[in-house]
């Protein structure tokens, strides 16, 4: 059954959010495939899937879902983005510098990092991914090499904060601090942001990618949007 008009599309998109909340992988992926075939805006579909993920998070907080359900949700969401990337052939916008990303030294967690990178790519942003357990100096070198105005530091354990702080201090020492917005993500909050000297903290991949998108846009000083 295809998506034949706006009403049908609206219903299908609501159903996509609902199916995502239910962690119904087959339905989610089928709806996205149908939507792509019929020209539904791919970013809208990602947003609908994201809304479903928010429901998954709520159910986790209420104790109705468990950690493995969160992970299943993350896997489906990643599959949605990969489907979109594969089908729409989104080309990264090369006139803007890539966003430098990595999990800081002493930490090896990368689920959130990888999801956020996928979301950024789905928006046409380029990403310079340094991987996990990245030495402090490698972040600074990457900023120098790419000229990126955004540095995303990920960490899920409390020992990561010291690395984040050292990286920010190193940027300062190298005279780069004012040119780079530092975004921290993972197990972070306002206290961690203040301790590390970062500019922003995010715990939501979609909101984090919106933030990076906005920083690049502001940095470019241009009216047109930076990525797609």
């Amino acid at each position: 059954m295809g998506i034949i008009n706006n009403v049908e599309e609206f219903k299908a998109r609501r159903f996509l959010t609902h199916a995502m909340g239910k962690l119904d992988e087959d339905t989610v992926l089928n709806l996205v495939k149908q939507g792509l075939e019929q020209g539904v805006d791919s970013l809208e579909m990602i947003n609908d899937a994201r809304a479903g993920m928010e429901k998954v998070g709520e159910l986790y907080d209420e104790g109705k879902y468990f950690l493995c359900d969160l992970m299943v949700g993350a896997e489906i969401f990643t599959d949605v983005i990969n489907l979109v990337l594969k089908s729409t052939n989104i080309e990264p916008v090369s006139i803007f510098p890539p966003i430098v990303f990595g999990t800081v030294g002493g930490d090896i967690h990368d689920i959130g990092k990888n999801i956020m990178i996928s979301v950024l790519k789905s928006k046409g942003c380029r990403v310079y991914d340094l991987g996990v357990d990245v030495p402090d100096a490698a972040f600074v070198e990457a900023i120098k090499k790419t000229g990126s105005p955004v540095l995303c530091l990920s960490g899920l354990i409390t020992t990561a904060y010291e690395s984040m702080k050292k990286i920010v201090d190193l940027l300062e020492k190298e005279g780069l601090r004012s040119k780079v917005s530092v975004v921290i993500g993972g197990l972070v909050n306002e206290a961690v942001k203040n301790y590390t000297g970062a500019d922003y903290w995010v715990t939501d991949c979609a909101k984090g990618s919106d933030l990076c998108f906005r920083i690049i846009h502001d940095h470019s000083g241009k009216q047109e949007i930076a990525c797609l």
Binding site: L67, E75, T158, A191
Partner: protein
């Protein structure tokens, strides 16, 4: 005006053994297990219990700063003594340095009997996942969760019958392709919490003052191992 211990139920066996071996006779207030995946709730629960404590000069918190759960905690009348550790695994390994060295060797996931019995842990998540989504998907999801982990290490804290849990943990490690190792735990940290001295390994929070990140974080002066880093450009 005495001393009271507020402790995490997940490390109950180890705290009880440390109390027995040191001979202290402080009362213990146990905080229910199962809150580790919800650090805010864990923090609220600890605060709730601290608020009930009266006529005490010192509260010994047998907790790690799991998920920042200790931030913002305060006692109006008592001083808080808190081990400066990232989480309770470090408490059971005996020192921050030991934990860091093990972690640097290879990505390591630690387990104890307390975690296996009381918390939503990896093994229970795996079993739940197999039930709900089938074995293939469960394996895929667990591998995603444990990406970059290569070792499952079970800590023998000497506080419980250790051998009984190894069959379970070995089976899980094999299924996930992780190496499986045992390691001796240490009660050094817990005993030092009970007896002192409360040196740089502990935060001493005066009455009325809130616990802040700056109190607990450890400045890793030796720096992180510098190693080659190959970025992927996309």
């Amino acid at each position: 005006m005495g001393t009271i211990i507020v402790a995490c139920q997940t490390i109950r066996d180890e705290v009880n053994l440390a109390i027995a071996e040191t001979g202290v006779n402080y009362p213990v207030l146990w905080i229910e297990y199962g809150l580790h995946n919800f650090p805010d709730r864990l923090g609220h629960k600890i605060q709730e219990e601290i608020n009930k404590i009266e006529n005490v000069k010192t509260i010994l918190l047998a907790f790690g700063n799991c998920g920042n759960s200790l931030l913002g905690i305060k006692s109006p009348q008592a001083q808080l003594i808190i081990p400066r550790v990232d989480d309770c695994i470090t408490l059971l390994l005996g020192s921050y340095e030991r934990r860091q060295n093990l972690y640097k060797e290879i990505g390591t996931y630690f387990l104890t009997k307390g975690w296996l019995e009381n918390e939503q842990n990896l093994l229970s998540e795996y079993e739940r996942c197999v039930k709900g989504y089938g074995k293939d998907k469960a394996l895929r999801v667990m591998k995603m969760m444990l990406n970059n982990y290569h070792r499952l290490m079970v800590i023998d804290t000497q506080a419980y019958q250790f051998e009984g849990i190894l069959i379970k943990t070995k089976g899980f490690a094999d299924a996930l392709g992780l190496s499986h190792e045992k390691i001796d735990g240490s009660l050094r940290f817990l005993k030092k919490l009970l007896l002192g001295p409360w040196d740089e390994e502990f935060a001493i929070i005066p009455p009325g003052q809130e616990v802040m990140l700056e109190h607990l974080i450890i400045n890793n002066d030796e720096g992180l191992m510098q190693k080659p880093c190959v970025p992927s450009y996309s």
